[in-house]
Amino acid sequence: MPENIPILVGAVLTVLVLLGYLLGENNFLFRLATYIFIGVATGYVFVLVFYQVITPRLIRPLLSGSFEQIVLTLPPLVLSVMLVFKIFPNLSRLGNLSMAYLVGAGAAVAIGGAVLGTLITQARASINLFDLSAGGGISRLLDGVFILVGTLSTLLYFSFSAKAQRNAAPQRPVPVRAAAGVGQIFIAITLGSLFAGVFTASLTALIERLGFLLNLVRTMVF
């Protein structure tokens, strides 16, 4: 019986979420299920962070670590303590240094990764499609052209600069407008694919929950 308790809890929450969302996002059942999930997740995250982050990375080095570990632990400790002051409006300035460190380090890591891992690699990949020596033939070249047109047209679609005209509304040049139209098609296809992916993912999650409830019912009934 104790093994079935998580199953029953999951079943109840699933029913609450499903029925509650059908009646609306702001109804009591849906909010109740949301609060339960948030509360459970918060408690779980606190315990996880305490045992996974604070204890092995802060407490343990300070208590049983070497001098080098202790010294290396002091800067993050000080920054962490200063970050706590952000919750107090009068003392929030003390946490600015910690926030500056976090934002600076995060931005540097994200920008570096985006440039090196996305921009350059994606640009190079698009360029490589036109490398006839790489093989692939015409189809590869068409893929490259298709990707190029789609990329340029999508970028031109978001170009809203136009030349001012007398006695007329400002309009973009005709080539730009034509390319923007093509880019609008690519954007529509992309959004359609994203929507399909989102719908498919949600549908799969719904199917899994309905199968879970159906299996629970079968288990309890039969």
């Binding site: 779980y44 380090a105 890591v109 891992g117």
Partner: protein, 762 residues
């Protein structure tokens, strides 16, 4: 002679000194030494002249003391005293001046009470005589001792007359000067006369048999009303014929005997109320000689309780008066006559004011006081306010005006000339000339300059203001609330779609028909994924990053289960890590759902904090970044991670995520450090389109996306599992979604075709 004290410094000076030896102040005023000034007006000269013969005044008044009282009036007074039971003081000196009938009448009366004038010094007698007429006016009660002066003051007869006419005889207070003005009393003798004539007409008193018609006319022949009690003040206007002087009015109605007496007295120019031998002072002189400060006074009101005076009998008394006296309560003999011929005023002559005598006027003053200038002893008093409109305004003489210190200091042109002539007509300063012109100054204040409060606004500014006002008015104007669209149809549609979709999903799940064909076309990414896993060496360490959220764990487990099963087949050693706090638990759940937890060698590194920075740290130094496992033990010393020092020592890195951003973070931060280690992605269907470019770029070597990708992977690897139970439902759901999308599109097209044109706003 005594020394003179200096009025300035108080030092004594000889009597003959004119200048103080100490302060050089003048001891004797220069005014006394000034020669007669021609600029002195006549009235001032007369006033000075009237003050000179003051030494003779007591003698004259003494002589006129008893003679002023007419006989008939004395009898009336005596009778009043007898009936009131009050002794009336009579001094022997005044009694000697009485007529015979008066003496007889007095002899029948009581002994006089009070002090006799014979016991007083000469100046006191005069004072008593002078003040008797005032004492008569101050009689306050029957019990008060009366000390009338028989000296002949003409007002005694008025007092007696008032006593006779009133019920309560006012007591006389000897020696008490009267504050009542004398002039008014002189003018009201006619009032007393009217009252006297009204007295016989009281009810209960028989009318005199011998009364003449004129008395009837005076009485009005009306006996129905008793005499009024209390104060009775008469004026000339109440006499029978208005506009006539009382003398003229009465002369025509007087009886013969009275008319003869009046005519004889008028020819002699004497006061009709004076005794024989007395001369009447001209009216003008008497008014001028009236001392200042003694204004007109009113006769005290007659009292109904005053005793009726006893009229003495006399041979000269007419018959009608005798009969009247016989009818009186205590009278023995009729009174000879109410109006002696000498007491009647002349026809057409106004009653004259008797000269008032200042109290202590005849007292012998010390020498130094006698030599004082008369002007200082009796300063001028403002004229009487009552009736002051008829009096001529006093004007200062030139020599007196020159002595005014104000004019010597203040320039003549300080104030306009017209303000100097202004006479105050009201208030305590009424009658004064040249008073402070407060009212004039108030009216002289000019009106403040009127500044226009209107703004100087141009037409353009007016237009702008109107525009702003219009805009504000539109904002403030309440607008009709728009009809809120009902949410009921939307909810109904949503519930219907949900119910239809749930029914479409439950039907294949419950029936377990598996009617839908399994996927036979496989995506290249999925195939590449399978080949990479298939190509892993046995017991190769594989880093499995569980980065999905619990909400999509159902999808992710369906997509990742075939991969985990194949890894188990390949006896891979798994290292579980997650940058998501819920990742470690979901990773355990994933292994449990796949049924490989016991058979698979793995180490759960747990939660990797720091996001992208943590990923970079983990990619750089995995042992430092994730030193301990989820169980708290050193992770890198476990069997699963044996021989792994760097991240590129793993056989493959598989990322399970439903978020494209998380996939991109792994690609950007970790993939560059992997080298030849393949990076594989098991992503949700919603993140697959975003990860696809990285597959094309070669950064991600394989990808399994969603349930369909898992089904493909299972098909490739010939695996079964839960996905087979859900495949039909998945396909039904996809078809249902397509049907809803198409149905919605058709409804939208029809709604556009049959949409009513929008009504134009009025």
């Amino acid at each position: 002679m005594a020394d003179i004290l200096c009025p300035m410094c108080g030092k004594p000076n000889p009597a003959e000194a004119e200048i103080c030896w100490s302060c050089q102040a003048r001891l004797k005023p220069l005014q006394a030494q000034q020669p007669p000034d021609d600029s002195v007006p006549d009235w001032l000269r007369d006033m000075r002249a009237g003050q000179e013969p003051e030494e003779d005044a007591p003698a004259a008044e003494e002589a006129a003391g008893d003679a002023d009282i007419p006989d008939w009036l004395a009898r009336i007074r005596q009778r009043g005293q007898e009936e009131g039971g009050e002794p009336q003081g009579q001094d022997a000196e005044s009694a000697s001046d009485m007529p015979d009938w008066m003496k007889d009448l007095r002899a029948e009366g009581q002994e006089p009470a009070g002090q006799s004038s014979g016991d007083l010094p000469a100046w006191m007698k005069d004072e008593a005589a002078d003040s008797s007429w005032l004492n008569g006016l101050r009689e306050e009660g029957p019990s008060a001792p009366a000390a009338p002066a028989e000296g002949g003051a003409e007002n005694d007869w008025l007092s007696s007359l008032s006593d006779w006419g009133g019920d309560a005889a006012p007591a006389e207070t000897p020696g008490e000067p009267s504050n009542a003005p004398q002039a008014e009393a002189s003018q009201e003798w006619g009032s007393d006369l009217s009252d006297w004539s009204a007295a016989p007409q009281q009810p209960g008193q028989p009318e005199a048999a011998g009364s003449e018609d004129w008395l009837s006319a005076l009485g009005g022949g009306e006996q129905e009303e008793p005499p009024a009690t209390g104060a009775q003040v008469f004026s000339w206007d109440e006499l029978p014929e208005a506009g006539h002087t009382p003398g003229a009015a009465m002369t025509g109605q007087l009886p013969d005997w009275l008319g003869q007496m009046a005519n004889s007295e008028a020819a002699a120019g004497s006061n009709p109320f004076l005794g024989d031998g007395e001369e009447t002072t001209p009216a003008g002189e008497e008014q001028q000689e009236t001392p200042a400060g003694f204004g007109p006074f009113s006769t005290p009101p007659f009292s109904d309780e005053a005793p009726v005076p006893e009229l003495p009998a006399s041979d000269d008394t007419p018959d009608w008066l005798k009969a009247f006296a016989a009818d009186l309560p205590g009278g023995e003999e009729p009174v000879a006559g109410p109006f002696p011929a000498e007491d009647l005023p002349e026809p057409g002559e106004q009653p004259q004011e008797q000269p008032a005598v200042m109290p202590y006027e005849n007292v012998e003053l010390p020498d130094w006081l006698d030599k004082a200038p008369p002007a200082e002893e009796k300063p001028e008093q403002p004229p009487a306010l009552e009736g002051g409109e008829d009096l001529a305004m006093a004007q200062l003489p030139g020599w007196l005006a020159a002595m005014r210190p104000v004019e010597s200091v203040v320039p003549q042109n300080a104030l306009p000339a017209e303000e100097d002539d202004r006479v105050e007509k009201s208030g305590p300063l009424a009658g004064l000339v040249g008073a402070l012109p407060g009212e004039s100054l108030a009216t002289r204040v000019s009106k403040p300059a009127a500044y226009s409060a209107r703004l100087q606004v141009s037409d353009r500014q007016h237009q702008h203001a109107a525009l702003i006002e219009e805009m504000l008015g539109d904002e403030a104007r309440p607008q009709a609330p728009r009809g809120e669209r009902s949410h009921i149809p939307e909810r109904i549609v949503r519930v219907v779609i949900a119910l239809v979709l749930i029914a479409a999903l439950l039907l294949p799940l419950a029936s377990n028909l598996r009617s839908m064909p399994l996927p036979n076309l496989f995506q290249p990414d999925t195939v590449a994924f399978q080949r990479i896993v298939e190509g892993l060496p046995a017991s190769a360490p594989v880093l499995l990053a569980v980065e999905y959220e619990p909400g999509l764990s159902g999808e992710m487990q369906l997509a990742a289960a075939p991969v985990v099963n194949q890894l188990t087949v390949r006896s891979a050693r798994l290292a579980l890590v997650s940058t998501n706090p819920s990742g470690p638990v979901l990773a355990e759940n994933l292994l449990g759902a796949a049924g490989v937890r016991e058979s698979l060698l793995y180490t759960n590194l747990g939660f990797l904090p720091g996001g992208t920075a943590g990923l970079q740290e983990f990619a750089s130094r995995p042992r430092v970044a994730m030193q301990y496992g989820l169980d708290g033990e050193l992770a890198w010393s476990t069997e699963a991670l044996t021989g792994v020092e760097e991240i590129n020592q793993f056989g493959a890195v598989i990322v399970l995520t439903e978020n494209a951003e998380t996939a991109r973070a792994w690609i950007e931060q970790v993939q560059p450090r992997l080298g030849d280690v393949p990076l594989l992605m098991v992503v949700s269907a919603q993140a697959a389109p975003m990860v696809q470019p990285y597959i094309d770029s070669g950064q991600v070597q394989g990808m399994v996306s969603g349930m369909s990708g898992g089904a493909m992977y299972a098909q490739i690897t010939s695996q079964g599992g839960a996905w087979l139970d859900y495949w039909d439902a998945y396909q039904f759901g996809i078809f249902a979604a397509i049907a809803f999308i198409l149905l919605g599109g058709v409804v939208q097209i029809f709604s556009l075709l049959f949409r009513r044109p929008a009504r134009r706003k009025a």
